[in-house]
């Protein structure tokens, strides 16, 4: 649907992703595909209690089974390794891979059993006797905030892991000066990304080399360093193999606790040890649940619907332990006003602990729930004032000419044309026809609604939320590196420094390097260096790789191009500025017959030192490590900081009908306008956007980790945790728009979270539009059949 961008040879063109061929051939190499001789398998004994003291563990019977190699308890492990890294300043909260003395959620790992096969390990795990003395527990996050609530971590003193009220701008006076206000609650219940591949890790210790080799299904910043620290090993004694294909992640594949456990066992047993979560392990004890939020919001606005100020309190239930997940309350600070010109904001993030499975980073790192909360308000304001929802948004959206645009919380949005994208998607959806369709359905007695959302995707990732939420953490560097070399045969090899989980990074790097060197990307080999050979990386988080890895690869390729030109200039007897580089060859601008081919230039660099410019390093290799284009600075005392550098925009329009009795929601038409700047590979961007919307449909309608009052997880398998299938995801139409970012190499922005950031808000908007004629409203996701069925019955009963 997009016109191909001008001025690029490969970027933005329809090209087959490099990775696809091996995947369709069944030749992907996932962690569970790696078989090592003598490999041992781990199974886990999990807590059946939400809170209990571990009184005694008896593994006698388990150890008597043949081919069982070890039984590991939390006491032993805690004595040998450091606890799992936490992002907040919580010295009294210890998170161990296996529970030590106390269990804090159902499914928490208590004992690890190692055997020659997974089945045998499970046989032995059943025989481990654990005696528990139950303790009081707390499941509801608001109850957990009460002073007399059972403490999840008694040593910590309360269940509050983080709480601060930020005020950016004259919030109180803006509220006082506004003629209208609304107050509402928006609830985002616990769901996650739940990749089809569970997390897995294998480790092998070489005593001779004093080296731990690790293969993992990982997507995590600084994973090798965190793992080495926890295992009390030097960083160069852990080698993480990043050439492992990751079967989906979207944020959650951060099995540090699994890796510490397996790393310790591999050393202890002197054999390769692997832990591949099964689906039950994954959903209960994999520590990969997502945000679980209660938003209480007030917005102040005038009669024309222009919002001046917002107060937002966000309670996030992080579960029993804090890893990096509580920082998900921090990222939305970088887009706390969404795409709107809200001038002042008070934001009170509260991270609270309960006896549930811990939360992990999920696609968007807290942004999608926040977008849903803001968009809920926009619809409510429109309804209250009787202003059309589209018109209301138009009045509040930041205008094209206002960029770069500084928001109250300290970030500056780089670029955008929100009105144009909104107009485009309305045209594609044929808004008036959609309204007619809805009204005709209503006239026929059906519940029909149209949903709209306008949302941002902050991209390019830095970690400004770390120092913002934890003053002891002064991380402002968030770089990515890439090395490119041209070998003696003239082949181009690029080395990236992290594993991929479907984002097409090899295609990204090859396209960018090919663009700069003017070589066919299909001829470029991209490898995933292991952690010892790799340049620094912060992994594919925060929609950053198109920007950061793309920028690093381009930077390295530019250095090579400069070197090739310098070699040519030296041999052609012209100044480098007088040399023209084209498709790998360099010639004199003045006399094109004076030319050196790619092969000749490579030959000189690799074999003919006598033809090299004086002082030039032989060979053709360059690396580039790039910091986030907006740099890194610490927050101001009032908590203002530049978060992500680039801001992509998406506007969703969805048409839905609800069955009055069953409460089933059918999405009958779906359109999204999307502007992520220059797309490197449109098929990849579109694919992630479709997938993000599908994931958003799950979060909006189907997926929930639901607990009962006893702390039991009621949706711990794929029988009850309902991921949308091809029947539930409608045919989606994407409308592209391109506002280049002024900050990036090619004008690109991030897109890995696209779709997911706006879909839940849009679907909620459609459901509420459908419910409006009944006078009903719902602001809690997921809007399940159970929730809607019971809500609709309140009207049916009243009839």
């Amino acid at each position: 649907m997009a016109a191909e961008p001008q001025g690029f040879r490969y970027i933005g063109r329809k090209r087959r992703p490099k990775e696809d061929r091996r995947f369709v051939a069944g030749s992907g190499r996932y962690v569970a595909d790696i078989i090592l001789p003598g490999m041992l398998h781990v199974a886990l004994v999990a807590s059946p209690h939400p809170a209990a003291r571990i009184v005694a563990i008896d593994a006698t019977a388990a150890l008597k089974l043949p081919r069982v190699k070890a039984v590991l308890t939390g006491e032993e492990l805690a004595g040998a390794v450091e606890p799992v890294f936490t992002g907040l300043d919580l010295p009294k909260m210890k998170r161990n891979p296996l529970a030590q003395a106390v269990v804090r959620y159902v499914g928490e790992w208590v004992v690890a059993v190692v055997a020659e096969t997974r089945a045998l390990a499970e046989d032995a795990a059943e025989l481990v006797q654990v005696d528990y003395a139950p303790l009081p527990h707390v499941i509801d996050p608001e109850a957990a905030l009460e002073p007399d609530a059972p403490p999840v971590h008694a040593d910590h003193g309360s269940n509050v892991f983080y709480r601060r009220r930020f005020v950016w701008g004259p919030v109180e006076s803006d509220f006082a000066a506004s003629s209208h206000r609304i107050a509402y609650r928006a609830r985002w219940h616990r769901s996650a990304t739940v990749p089809i591949e569970t997390f897995g890790v294998m480790a092998r210790w070489s005593a001779a080399a004093q080296l731990l080799d690790v293969w993992a299904s990982i997507q995590m910043p600084k994973y090798p360093e965190n793992l080495a620290r926890a295992l009390r090993l030097p960083g160069n004694a852990v080698r993480v193999h990043f050439d492992v294909d990751v079967g989906g992640s979207y944020g959650v594949k951060r099995g540090l606790k699994h890796s510490i456990l397996v790393g310790y066992l591999a050393r202890k047993l002197g054999a390769p040890v692997r832990l591949i979560e099964d689906r039950l392990d994954n959903m209960r004890g994999g520590d990969a649940h997502g945000p679980d939020r209660i938003f209480d919001i007030e917005m102040a606005f005038d009669g024309d619907g222009v919002v001046r100020a917002m107060k937002m309190r966000a309670i996030d239930d992080v579960g029993a332990y804090a890893g990096r997940a509580p920082l998900q309350l921090g990222k939305p600070v970088g887009a706390i006003v969404g795409p709107y010109r809200i001038k002042s904001v008070a934001y009170e993030p509260i991270s609270v602990s309960t006896n549930k499975t811990p939360e992990e980073a999920v696609r968007g790192f807290g942004q999608s729930p926040t977008n849903f909360a803001i968009e809920t308000g926009m619809d409510l304001i429109g309804r209250k004032l009787g202003i059309d929802r589209i018109e209301l948004r138009r009045r509040n959206l930041i205008r094209r000419e206002e960029f770069p645009y500084a928001i109250p919380s300290g970030s500056t949005y780089d670029s955008g044309d929100y009105h144009a994208v909104l107009d485009k998607v309305l045209a594609a959806a044929d808004w008036n026809a959609l309204v007619q369709r809805r009204d005709a359905a209503r006239a026929a007695g059906r519940l029909a609604g149209i949903g709209v959302s306008c949302c941002l995707e902050p991209s390019g990732g830095n970690s400004a939320f770390e120092p913002l939420l934890n003053a002891k953490n002064e991380t402002t560097t968030w770089m990515e590196g890439c090395q490119v070399k041209i070998d003696l045969t003239g082949a181009v090899i690029a080395a990236m420094a992290t594993s991929s989980s479907g984002q097409g990074h090899e295609t990204l790097v090859a396209t960018v390097v090919g663009e700069i060197l003017e070589r066919d990307p299909d001829t470029i080999r991209v490898v995933h260096a292991d952690s010892l050979g790799a340049l620094p990386s912060n992994s594919p988080v925060g929609s950053r790789m198109a920007i950061m890895l793309g920028g690093a690869a381009a930077g390295a390729a530019k250095k090579l191009r400069t070197q090739l030109v310098a070699i040519a200039a030296h041999n052609l007897g012209v100044a480098p500025e007088a040399c023209v580089y084209a498709e790998g060859a360099a010639s004199s601008a003045a006399d094109p017959t004076k030319r050196l081919s790619w092969a000749q230039l490579v030959e000189i660099a690799h074999r003919k030192f006598h033809l090299m410019p004086p002082g030039m390093e032989p060979g053709l290799q360059a690396s580039h490590v790039w910091e986030v284009p907006t740099g890194g600075s610490l927050p101001t005392p009032d908590g203002r900081v530049q978060m992500y550098p680039c801001y992509a925009f998406e506007a969703h329009v969805v048409y839905a009908e609800i069955d009055r009795i069953t409460g089933q929601v059918a999405l009958r038409a779906y359109f999204v306008g999307h502007d992520c700047g220059v797309m490197i590979n449109p098929d990849i961007v579109h694919g992630m956007t479709y997938g993000g919307i599908a994931h958003g449909i799950g979060a909006a309608l189907y997926e929930r980790f639901q607990y009962d009052d006893n702390g039991q997880l009621l949706s711990g398998s794929f029988m009850d945790y309902l991921i949308p299938s091809s029947h539930e995801v409608p045919d989606i139409t994407i409308v592209d728009h391109c506002t280049p970012s002024p900050l990036t190499t090619f004008g690109q922005k991030g897109s890995g979270e696209a779709g997911y950031l706006g879909a839940p808000a849009a679907i909620a908007s459609a459901v509420n539009d459908a419910l409006a004629p009944l006078g009903l409203h719902i602001a809690a996701l997921p809007m399940t059949v159970a929730a809607l069925g019971d809500l609709l019955a309140t009207k049916a009963d009243a009839k």
């Binding site: 039950l280 639901q706 029947h727 539930e728 399940t784 059949v785 069925g789």
Partner: protein, 294 residues
């Protein structure tokens, strides 16, 4: 997620199967398609010492039509039954029900008898069988017997079959051609292929003037076992099936239902859905009957 260790036998015939079941003394379990059993096995919720695979027993395969009935042998796959012409012509209600069972991939392995013997309260095949007054044949080392479908379902995942008994066939008695016959099957599930929150099956006969001369309605998913809605049937038979009758059906179905709730739908919600689906299934069956040549 690996099953407990068990032994495995693949008997050649029914007699051998029954002998193995008798020897097993409750520790032996039959595996047919395995689409319900294997998840229970790998979650270690089922822990047999012996698994008896009946998939290759010829006498348990096939669909046979006689004058007064259609008999489906227990180990006939759901996919085969769904594609079978006799089933489509003589048992349209079962054919409709089968299209709601799982996915193509599970219907290829899943069997008619296996679904019945597993007795999931939301399973569609049992629901159709209940509406059609099916008779189940079983064998054990002690001999053969017939169980009326009305006596078959005891509680979730529990049937009248004894541990040493093997279900061998399901017989669907033909409805006499006393008018135009139609059937309807309605299901509400969360995702398309999920188990039913509630499903309703109806088959009825209309005379020339459109009066309902016979009707059978069953409902599943709402409670512990699928149930026949005799109160609704009695209210509808002998009358025309207009909007008033459908409203009566909806109300009676709701009022007489012992429903249970879970995270996917409350008991009250299931009752409401049940009422609506019963009315929709009756309407579908009525319209199908009216479309038949008089």
């Amino acid at each position: 997620m690996k099953a407990v260790d068990f032994d495995y036998q693949r008997p050649a015939g029914l007699s051998e199967t029954c002998a193995l079941l008798a020897e097993g003394g409750g520790e032996a379990k039959i595996i047919a398609g395995g689409q319900t059993l294997v998840p229970l096995l790998v979650m270690r919720l089922a822990r047999p010492a012996l698994l008896i695979d009946i998939n290759r027993i010829a006498e348990l395969q096939g669909i046979a039509e006689s004058g007064d009935a259609v008999e489906i042998r227990a180990c006939t796959s759901q996919a085969r039954a769904l594609a079978d012409r006799v089933v489509r012509r003589r048992l349209p209600l079962l054919a409709k029900a089968l299209s709601f069972v799982g996915h193509a991939q599970t219907r290829n392995r899943g069997t008619i008898g296996g679904s019945l013997a597993n007795a999931d309260p939301a399973a569609e095949i049992g629901l159709a069988a209940l509406a059609l007054d099916a008779e189940l044949s079983s064998r054990s080392a002690r001999g053969a017997r017939t169980i009326a479908i009305g006596q078959f379902f005891v509680s979730p995942l529990v049937t009248a079959l004894a541990a040493e008994e093997c279900l061998t066939a399901v017989r669907f008695p033909a409805w006499r051609a006393d008018g135009r016959i139609g059937s309807g099957f309605q299901e509400t599930s969360i995702r398309r292929s999920d188990f039913a929150l509630v499903a309703a099956a109806a088959q009825l006969a209309l005379d020339k003037s459109g009066v309902c001369t016979r009707i059978a309605i069953s409902l599943g998913g709402a409670g512990a076992t699928p149930v026949r809605l005799t109160a609704v049937e009695q209210a509808l038979v002998g009358g025309k099936l207009g909007d008033g009758a459908l409203a009566t059906a909806e109300k009676l179905a709701q009022d007489n239902l012992d429903a249970s709730g879970d995270i996917h739908a409350s008991a009250a919600h299931r009752r409401r859905i049940a009422g609506a689906l019963v009315a929709r299934a009756v309407a579908e069956a009525r319209d199908a009957a009216l479309a038949e040549p008089a």
